[in-house]
């Protein structure tokens, strides 16, 4: 175990991509502990890790998101949100939050959200006199709604790793997602008044009607997904394919903006992004084998239980450990390495698996916006052409809000479980 951890620490400090760090550490462990017979396990575990039906939702939802974006559906969604919240002080910052909220219902990843919202809104907000770092930070933190509100790639990975019902996780994330939208709105309104950010002229009723009509096909997609799944037409995984086809049809035949270049770009982006996620899962599955051999999850659970049997303290320790890990690994990496132990801890303290899953999801996705690895911060600072440190400074209060919400969710399980218990028998 010492070997594994030292090679891990060494290679990660060298700046080697996390994907390879996981594999190299496991390989080094097999060789340095004199167990070369396990080298044959490496390809076997890699294959088994990604040969899972549930993971197909990843490329399919990525494709749906890519088609939405290149097909101009994102812009229509934002115009729709703008028609309702633009009239208040700091109107465009509210559009960023609620546009992102709507986008969350069709996209599965925070990165897609940050890129889509950022590229459309940051230039707009800059023109209207917003601090560009604030605009970028707001969009980055708002993108956290995406993996909370279904569909969610993070929850699919968590469900696949832990055996928790993905349908229930999806529904369990809705209330936390709405709470995040509401608290960010409060913060944005406060900032807008303090800094005197502008309000936009309210559109006429006819304009609102027209914008709503234009956005209708996009707004209909989440309805289609929910009705289709609840009605037994398709499963949660298959819904991803339906979403992709729907996005394609709407962009091509309704808005008539889809070109071959768009399609090409979306298909390749899907293959490439999914490839990176798949390889990470494949490599982590090797590391998971080493952990199983060393009985690491059992030892961690036993260690924590040895330390304390105070439920509150255990939950706090789990959250702290996840946040610290999130500084070194990306979201999928954290999940893959910790879920077996987390499930054990959850069972030991009698935490509902769906509650645990939503809490862990919320915790790990905060890693998208906290330094040094926050992927969404990188994306928005790239779009804003602003140094990441400046964006991070503006993001800190909002990360604080997200952390406070995380604690609320951790200790008030009803916030998570109310909806799934209501909707799923």
């Amino acid at each position: 175990m010492v070997w594994l951890l030292s090679v891990f620490a060494f290679t990660i400090l060298m700046g080697i991509p996390v994907i390879f760090v996981l594999g190299i550490s496991a390989l080094a462990y097999f060789v340095l502990t004199g167990q070369p017979q396990y080298l044959l396990v490496i390809p076997q575990r890699m294959f088994a890790g990604v040969d899972q039906f549930i993971l197909l939702a990843i490329p399919l939802f990525v494709l749906a998101g890519a088609l939405m974006d290149t097909g101009g559906l994102t812009r229509r969604l934002l115009e729709f949100a703008n028609a309702f919240v633009g009239r208040f002080r700091g109107g465009t910052s509210l559009t960023a939050i609620w546009g992102s909220f709507l986008f969350s219902g069709i996209s599965g990843s925070a990165a897609a959200d940050a890129a889509a919202m950022g590229s459309v809104l940051i230039p707009d907000m800059k023109k209207q006199g917003y601090d560009v770092n604030y605009a970028a930070a707001l969009i980055a933190v708002a993108s956290l709604m995406d993996p909370l509100i279904p569909p969610s790639i993070t929850m699919i990975i968590y469900g696949a790793l832990s055996g928790t019902s993905i349908a229930k996780l999806f529904i369990g994330g809705i209330v936390p997602g709405i709470l995040l939208a509401l608290s960010l709105t409060a913060y944005a309104v406060f900032i807008a008044h303090k800094r005197g950010y502008p309000r936009l002229a309210p559109p006429s009723l006819a304009q609102i009607g027209r914008l709503t009509l234009t956005a209708l096909p996009v707004l209909f997609l989440p309805v289609l997904i929910v009705v289709g799944i609840r009605g037994g037409a398709f499963t949660a995984t298959e819904a991803a394919a339906i979403a992709a086809i729907y996005a394609l049809v709407v962009a091509a035949f309704w808005y008539r903006v889809l070109t071959w270049a768009h399609l090409r770009h979306a298909l390749i982006a899907t293959a490439v992004i999914s490839s990176a996620i798949y390889l990470l899962i494949a490599m982590a599955n090797i590391a998971a084998f080493v952990f199983a051999l060393e009985r690491l999850p059992q030892n961690i659970v036993a260690g924590i239980q040895h330390l304390t049997d105070n439920r509150v303290l255990i939950i706090l320790m789990v959250n702290l450990a996840l946040l610290v890990l999130g500084m070194f690994l990306d979201v999928a990496g954290v999940l893959i390495l910790t879920v077996p132990a987390l499930v054990g801890i959850g069972a030991a303290i009698g935490m509902d698996p769906v509650h645990l899953g939503v809490m862990v999801t919320f915790n790990t996705i905060i890693g998208f916006v906290h330094p040094p690895l926050g992927l969404c911060l990188f994306i928005v600072s790239g779009v804003a052409k602003s140094p990441i440190e400046k964006v991070t400074m503006q993001a800190l209060p909002m990360i604080g809000i997200a952390l406070a919400l995380l604690m609320l969710i951790a200790f008030v399980p009803e916030l998570v479980l109310f909806l799934p218990n209501l909707l799923v028998k």
Partner: protein, 174 residues
């Protein structure tokens, strides 16, 4: 990992690599498109026709494994595989370059070992049949050695492959 200038590479070589990359892109596109079509067929045949497909699930899983491993090289060349850079990037540039070189050597060695054992794994499981596709499991497992070998080449010749990557595909991804 070092500056990239087109002129550093033999134009013939660059053209050959471009051709290979273009073929890889088309394979990935066709793969993802097929995935969507088969998923839709699975729904259609179960829900509308009432005759569920027996082979679609295994086909989709296997297809996506192949897409993922074949596209890994492009993903690497496009910079989709992130590391924790803030330590090395804070060092002297010449030192950073040396560490990056050492890192790439480690990655290539690792991938070659995986490719070799992946090949053994493929051979040793080739007498088993895939459940519904009724082809040797070796055809599915071969994605690992093939993908890792290609990825090793992409990592070893990172500059060359990045230069040869079509311009539009290096644009900011989702």
């Amino acid at each position: 990992m070092g500056p990239t200038r087109m002129s550093r590479h033999n134009p013939r070589l660059l053209r050959a690599v471009s051709l290979y990359l273009r073929a890889l892109h088309y394979l990935a596109m066709a793969g993802v498109a097929t995935l969507v079509v088969v998923a839709a067929m699975q729904v259609f045949f179960r829900y509308v026709v009432g005759e569920s497909l027996f082979w679609s699930e295994e086909l989709m899983r296997s297809l996506m494994v192949w897409i993922a491993f074949l596209s890994a090289g492009i993903a690497y060349s496009r910079g989709e595989m992130l590391g924790m850079r803030f330590v090395v990037d804070g060092l002297r540039p010449s030192l950073t370059a040396k560490i990056d070189m050492a890192g790439r050597v480690l990655i290539v060695l690792f991938l070659l070992v995986v490719a070799w054992y992946g090949w053994l794994f493929t051979l040793r499981t080739s007498e088993q049949e895939a459940v519904s596709l009724e082809i040797s499991l070796g055809w599915l497992h071969a994605a690992i050695p093939v993908g890792c070998l290609l990825l090793a080449v992409h990592v070893a010749f990172a500059d060359l492959f990045r230069s040869a990557l079509p311009k539009e595909e290096t644009s900011h991804s989702l």
